[in-house]
Symmetry: C2
Subunit: 169 residues, 2 copies
């Protein structure tokens, strides 16, 4: 089944989702953040089919979130390491985890506690404004066309209406 491609949409959420491809990819990244590097470890930790895992790791390398490095010769074996781009995805998983802890804990409390070594506290991720540092809420944010918004699409009446509605809110 061919999936709709979101890669060309002028929306960073859609582009990110297109890159990830499916839900296995964030879980592969999660394992990498737990320190997993080798194919067999990813495989056993996730219980994922080998061909699926090979595909997802391949995509992550191709998209620059991971690199594949030899750690042994004869026979050559590789490990998968996070790049800066890959490491920078951690906050997205942390925000997702905080939401799940809040809303999907079935009343048992969070399955995982996040301990921040930097400050020594158990904590959860909060998503704040880069400028005023206040927690972000949808109602407070207006979405405007940015420099990367394609001029052709920007000219469409329905797109104009969409952004005008945002301003009028």
């Amino acid at each position: 089944m061919k999936r709709t491609s979101f890669a060309k949409w002028p929306c960073s959420v859609a582009r990110t989702m297109n890159l990830l491809g499916d839900w296995w990819t964030p879980l592969v990244l999660r394992e990498a953040f737990y320190g997993i590097r080798r194919f067999d470890r990813f495989q056993s930790e996730l219980g994922i089919a080998r061909n699926t895992l090979a595909d997802r790791l391949g995509t992550l390398v191709e998209q620059g979130l991971m690199t594949k490095e030899p750690y042994q010769s004869d026979p050559v074996r590789h490990e998968y390491l996070l790049t800066e781009k890959g490491k920078d995805f951690y906050p997205v998983l942390a925000a997702m985890s905080a939401w799940g802890d809040r809303w999907l804990d079935n009343g048992d409390g969070p399955p995982i506690v996040h301990h921040h070594r930097t400050c020594g506290h158990d904590m959860h991720a909060e998503v704040v404004c880069s400028e005023c540092r206040q927690p972000l809420e949808a109602a407070d944010v207006e979405h405007r066309m940015g420099p990367g918004y394609p001029a052709k699409i920007a000219a469409l009446p329905q797109v104009q209406a969409r952004f005008a509605a945002q301003r009028a809110e």
Copy 2:
């Protein structure tokens, strides 16, 4: 094709992803954050098949992220409104969008500029520690078993080893 169910995993990322089901769901939520409420508007904005949209909206209602409310009788018509649980998902999309703006802009700059009405600045989302307010990085966070971690799984040697490796880092 039956998808692996992540709902029972002791991981809030996996649970969240299981709930979302596929990448259309966050895009449906994105439209809701843009103020879209009616089926036909979701459909035309996303270019999504009607049965797919009905399914994703149904899941969002069933999972408590949206409610379906009549806005007209004779014929009855409904609109879809975000609940608190649904509104609280915005920061996850904002964090995802910030990552995409940074890494997937193809050199054109971000397609959308986020303007924070609260403080009057263009901004991006930042993910910080709830306690010390510093930006989160994976290397600084230790993941420990929480109250909701199932005792049965916690006793497994490979799970013990996994958490011990975190502590040793």
